[in-house]
């Protein structure tokens, strides 16, 4: 592929919808175990740590530990759901099942496929985040109507992590490769972004650096909303997540073109 076409700006238009629908149709067949699977794990952690560990703690950032942890759990499980979908599931469709190859023989282009996968992974992570949000509301851990604003935050978080995941998918020779991404990026980020404890507990240098991470922006938006406050620096955090989505998606598109359209 010549350089000009390789680096062309992605132009997905709206023709990606059939790709999204394809994934939705597969998901629908397995919807209940899928939602339960995405829900059970984070809830066990949230309730176990929140009430167990939380019982030993005084208030954290002015609220009970389980309330503090709940917002972190919403965005962390959103991140996980989007990442898993863009890594393992998208890789299966691209590399193992050759679903993307089949679609490329239709009028759809790779840009459409990737846009469909991006929005799909974000949609699936939205379901995951929403399910946890619902449990949190049912338990009375959030009561403010402001918590409804967490819904677009969840979707935006899903988009950002799906876009980054698609970069890793484009580079992966096999499933084993994804372990690096989790061990070197996702897990450390989970611990420094203020999900389990306030990030300012960390050494100043780490805290400053960690504030740049995508998950930190999501936490900074979701936590105040769930606690009934308007987040500070809304535009900065939303802008950061949007920028990550756009830039990561452009990189993922170029890398996937290089991989599949040789």
């Amino acid at each position: 592929m010549n350089t000009q076409r390789l680096f062309a700006i992605p132009r997905p238009g709206l023709r990606w919808l059939p790709v999204w629908r394809r994934n939705f149709l597969v998901w629908r067949k397995l919807a209940i175990p899928s939602v339960l699977g995405n829900l059970a794990d984070p809830l066990i952690y949230m309730l176990g740590l929140g009430y167990g560990l939380g019982g030993l703690l005084p208030q954290v950032s002015g609220v009970s530990y389980v309330s503090f942890l709940s917002a972190g759990t919403v965005v962390a499980s959103t991140m996980n759901a989007a990442t898993f979908e863009a890594l393992y599931s998208a890789f299966s469709r691209m590399h193992v099942q050759k679903t993307w190859d089949a679609i490329l023989n239709t009028p759809l282009s790779l840009d459409h496929i990737l846009a469909g996968e991006l929005v799909w992974a974000a949609s699936k992570s939205l379901l995951s985040g929403l399910a946890i949000l619902l449990v949190i509301a049912t338990l009375g851990l959030t009561t403010s109507p402001l918590a409804l604003w967490a819904i677009p935050v969840i979707f935006l978080t899903g988009l950002a992590f799906a876009a980054m995941g698609l970069i890793v998918c484009a580079l992966a020779p096999s499933y084993d490769f994804f372990m690096y991404y989790f061990t070197l990026f996702i897990t450390p980020m989970l611990l420094v972004s203020g999900v389990f404890f306030p990030a300012d507990q960390l050494p100043a240098a780490v805290h400053t650096l960690a504030a740049w991470l995508p998950l930190a922006h999501a936490v900074q938006l979701a936590r105040p909303l769930l606690l009934g406050e308007v987040p500070s620096n809304v535009f900065m955090h939303v802008g950061a997540l949007l920028t990550i989505t756009v830039v990561a998606f452009a990189i993922a598109t170029m890398l996937t073109r290089r991989r599949l359209l040789k």
Binding site: L25, D101, P107
Partner: protein, 308 residues
């Protein structure tokens, strides 16, 4: 500069494609008139699949012009593919869906409305010999059934042109004959077929015209019968047995051409009577006397050595 003829389904001029330091397609030209079946033959690695990928706009060529359905490729490939069907070399049917769901989901990629696809599905399944298999899971289908489903899927958008990359590789003879018969029906309906294969009998039966590709270049092209008449003596006698090679070498004047491969000697003859008479005096040798085929042309043009 090629002149555009709208009656041509596909027109390829000066196509070149290089991967790193290897030239896979080295400047080829061919034209496929609408409503005909065109075969691209060649050993493994000859550049057939790369040529097809270029024609579909999936790979940008380094040089050359391609016109598919009147659209310039790769620039207008998405529009060109609206009415093109593809049967890829390896089945990539969606394993998460049933037979009918596969057709439905695939039709949506063309922007066809669900109701229209749903109405087409029974005919498509009948055509592919999969009637009543609507709700069958893909894992329960045999290799031949999967191949036929791939063919049905390639027809979901009612294409004018169908690309088939080795459509019968790996199939048993029954399945292969069924595919052949269906492909003939498609040409009878006025569809244009462009297929790659290394089954010479398949090419001979199906193709109006074919081209032999080797090391990225077109070695020859024409109608199957004409290629045989042009390139090869009309009769072939294959002689086998331990002594065959030595026996043949000492009698190489009995045919216009002699080739020896392992313990088989191939005599290519205009008149085989003297050779057959000589064979009658050599009861230790077995032989097969047959008309020259496309396979003989293929072997003559591309050599006997193995390709990987």
């Amino acid at each position: 500069m090629a002149t555009l003829n709208l009656a041509d389904a596909l027109c390829v001029r000066g196509l070149r494609k290089r991967y790193d330091d290897q030239e896979v397609v080295g400047g080829i030209d061919f034209t496929v008139p609408s409503g005909t079946c065109f075969g691209l033959l060649g050993p493994n690695g000859a550049g057939k699949t790369t040529t097809l990928r270029c024609c579909l706009g999936l790979t940008a060529p380094d040089a050359g012009q391609i016109t598919l359905r009147g659209y310039s490729i790769p620039e207008q490939a998405e529009a060109a593919r609206e009415r093109v069907g593809v049967v890829p070399q390896f089945d990539n049917i969606d394993p998460d869906f049933t037979v009918a769901e596969n057709l439905m989901v695939y039709g949506r990629y063309f922007g066809i409305k669900d109701a229209i696809i749903r109405a087409r599905i029974p005919d498509l399944l009948d055509f592919a010999g999969l009637g009543g298999k609507d709700t069958a899971r893909i894992q329960t289908l045999s290799g031949g059934m999967k191949r036929r489903l791939t063919l049905a899927r390639a027809l979901v958008n009612d294409p004018d042109i169908i690309f088939l990359d080795e459509p019968t590789t790996g199939l048993d003879p029954q399945a292969r004959h069924l595919i052949w018969e269906r492909l003939k029906q498609l040409t009878a309906r006025g569809k244009t077929l462009i297929l790659t294969t290394h089954f010479m009998d398949e090419a001979e039966r199906l193709c109006d015209r074919l081209a032999v590709l080797d090391h990225g270049r077109l070695v020859t092209d024409g109608a199957p019968r004409a290629l045989i008449a042009t390139h090869i003596e009309p009769q072939v006698v294959e002689v086998f047995g331990d002594e065959a090679a030595a026996w043949a070498r000492s009698r190489n004047t009995l045919g216009e051409r002699l080739e020896i491969a392992g313990d088989t000697a191939f005599f290519y003859c205009r008149d085989s009577a003297p050779l057959l008479a000589a064979l009658a005096d050599a009861p230790a040798l077995r032989y097969l006397h047959r008309a020259a085929s496309l396979e003989d042309v293929f072997i003559k043009l591309t050599g006997r050595e193995l390709r990987d």
